[in-house]
Symmetry: C2
Subunit: 240 residues, 2 copies
Amino acid sequence: MSVDHLIAKLKRRDEVSAAEARYLEGLLEPPRRVPRGGEIVRAGERPGQSTLLVEGFCSRFVGGPTGARQITQVNLAGDFLDLHSFLMKQMDHGVVALTDCVVMSASHARLRRMTEEQPHLTRLLWLETVIDAAIHRQWLYGLGRLEAQARTAHLICELALRSRAAGLGGPEAFIMPFTQPELADILGITAVHANRSMMTLRRAGLIERTGVQITVLDWDGLVELGEFDPAYLRLYEETV
Amino acid sequence: MSVDHLIAKLKRRDEVSAAEARYLEGLLEPPRRVPRGGEIVRAGERPGQSTLLVEGFCSRFVGGPTGARQITQVNLAGDFLDLHSFLMKQMDHGVVALTDCVVMSASHARLRRMTEEQPHLTRLLWLETVIDAAIHRQWLYGLGRLEAQARTAHLICELALRSRAAGLGGPEAFIMPFTQPELADILGITAVHANRSMMTLRRAGLIERTGVQITVLDWDGLVELGEFDPAYLRLYEETV
DNA sequence: CGGGCTTTTGACGAAGCTCAACTATAGTGG
DNA sequence: CCACTATAGTTGAGCTTCGTCAAAAGCCCG
């Protein structure tokens, strides 16, 4: 089913009945493809639907007038990309495909009906947006208070766990399909420095890279360097 | 009424009926005082209620094992401080009072009932948490891509507008009751550099400071320096 | 095999940090 | 009312992390 990754993730947080899974599935339009580099939503836009990432990798980003760009979150399969546009109406940021992607949309009208018919499902999706904010806060701590190397370690830890939660493998090996300029926009540094940060982690024997795949060699070392504590991802079951 | 600041803010976003305002008021326990420096919620805690800030200034912060601290948001009167704990259950960060404060709490059980009885109010509070995330994203852009001076200008613009939206004065003059070490934790720099950044803005004739009050002398200059675009605050009426 | 992208490396400069001292301000008690 | 103290704010000097600019090296794919 196309909502599999989403359901896998939700089930790590609370029970999801078969009926609720079907209801979610029923919200969505047929899948469509987006090529790598495609902008799925543009900042300032007022989309009439919210989009679920079914396959691939995307990122949210805030762009400045000078062309500078800061990626504020990495989205994996099973993530809603602009659920908050259902409430904000106008997008405060853009979403771009980092790889070829498959997405499906749910109209805001249907989501609104959901808030009237399915309070529990509503709380589960509300929780999704609240976890997005928690991820933002961890990144804020990293950008404000950690050095580039430590932020890199933290990112690897986060993606390893989130990949596993969405049923995408990991945590000892997972896919990180970013170019170094993209990685730089995630870490708030330049591409040159992104290169040096990754290099340092490799030379320290913490990770290994083969193409887009990252293999974690020393999880505890990464956790310590990146000050990583997984609580904010809320990857354990609990009633909402 | 103790929810006045909250209602004032919500009304800038959508219509709020008198019945809804009463319903909100009915959710809340009697007010209590918190002295400056008091921790209203601690990271890792599992509060059974969510707390509304009725008077004063608070901040959310993420703390590291080394004692480093990053403030991730400044909260004004009318803001919910830990609404997301209703969904996350466990706090991913702490909330501290920057001034003497008055707060009121709503139990999670009552909030849950609200999601079953009041879909529109639910969407309005969901919107609140979604705007928190949008503010986080702007800060991420600032920390990742702007220099300390520019971030300072952005913060001033944001607080000026939010103060006005909550009916606290502004935007030409408003209260910014932070010590410089606190300001440093907001801007992701050291206290010494926070001092120099504020100084630069004053010497450039952009702002003036008298005690805790900031007077904006050159709004356009601040907007340009801080790359400030108020859209993310969603301070204009629109049906949710 | 050649063009375009991505990654890697080097040299130097700038923003911001650390350490340390000094000044201003606001209480507080005599 | 003033000295005393504690806290907050201000300034300087030298150092570190990261940015800039530039070039070389690897890789993919037609």
